[in-house]
């Protein structure tokens, strides 16, 4: 076949819709999970603002606390809270899939890998709460 090398067919790729992730729950869940990162960043920004207010002095810190009581900030923090919980749960549940540990020729059950993560989560949260609430 003469010339066949020159006439390469164009690669055919269907263009996926920009909103492909809206169609099915697992896809939407995936995008929501990925979007949790935005709320993680928001938390860091808020923490940095708090540290900044703290080092400036009591008056600035009071002003910062006032800002935290703003309904818009509260609403944003409620949404953020759900997203970071979603991140935590999906992250811990993913751990057994990321770490395929084998013991005695068998794969260690997922619960034994995810479980300790949840236990650590509760323990660490309790420790942080204790540090901040001891009065």
């Amino acid at each position: 076949m003469p010339g066949s090398a020159q006439v390469l067919p164009k690669m055919y790729r269907t263009r996926m819709s920009t909103y492909w992730w809206l169609g099915r729950w697992p896809y939407l869940k995936f995008i929501l999970r990925e979007l949790s990162s935005v709320f993680v960043a928001w938390f860091v920004i808020m923490t940095l603002l708090q540290i900044d207010a703290l080092r400036r002095g009591p008056a600035d810190y009071m002003e910062f606390q006032e800002w935290l009581r703003n309904p818009v900030v509260i609403a944003l923090n409620i949404i953020s809270f759900f997203f970071v919980i979603f991140h935590a749960v999906t992250w811990f549940n993913l751990a057994p899939k990321a770490m395929a540990i084998r013991a005695g020729g068998k794969r260690v059950p997922a619960v034994l890998i995810a479980g300790p993560n949840y236990i650590a989560w509760v323990a660490i949260s309790a420790a942080v709460a204790w540090l901040l609430l001891r009065g």
Binding site: A41, Q50, L68, S80, F81, H87, W91
Partner: protein, 117 residues
């Protein structure tokens, strides 16, 4: 010789940040973002919080929490835009925004934690 990819390193930061964010952010966000402002619980006073943050271990803790979380965000958000919106032609800009933001955030965090009186 082919150029080494820094993808594994970025993934490591993403993964470490994912653990830190999952373990530490929910409780802190709940307390500082909701429970204290809404008066559900009494938060620490100015002096005691300042003393806590001044402690070298707390500074180290906050540094790790903030910077790793930012790199977690950078990596994940980059792929959210990449997969979700499929805007591959803006890759350079997105990478600069995401990782640049994380690097800038790291510098700001270090500076703030350094200058606390």
């Amino acid at each position: 010789m082919s150029k080494r990819s820094n993808e594994p390193f970025l993934w490591l930061l993403f993964s470490a940040g994912g653990v830190v964010a999952a373990m530490l952010i929910p409780i802190q966000l709940f307390l500082f973002g909701l429970a204290f402002p809404l008066g559900w619980l009494d938060g620490p006073g100015y002096q005691s919080l300042l003393e806590l943050v001044r402690h070298p271990l707390t500074r180290l803790y906050l540094f790790a929490l903030c910077t790793l979380s930012l790199f977690h965000f950078a990596h994940r958000f980059r792929y959210t835009l990449y997969d979700g919106l499929q805007i591959k032609h803006l890759n350079e800009l997105i990478n600069t925004f995401c990782y640049g933001g994380a690097i800038l955030g790291t510098a700001v965090t270090a500076y703030l934690l350094w200058i606390i009186p």
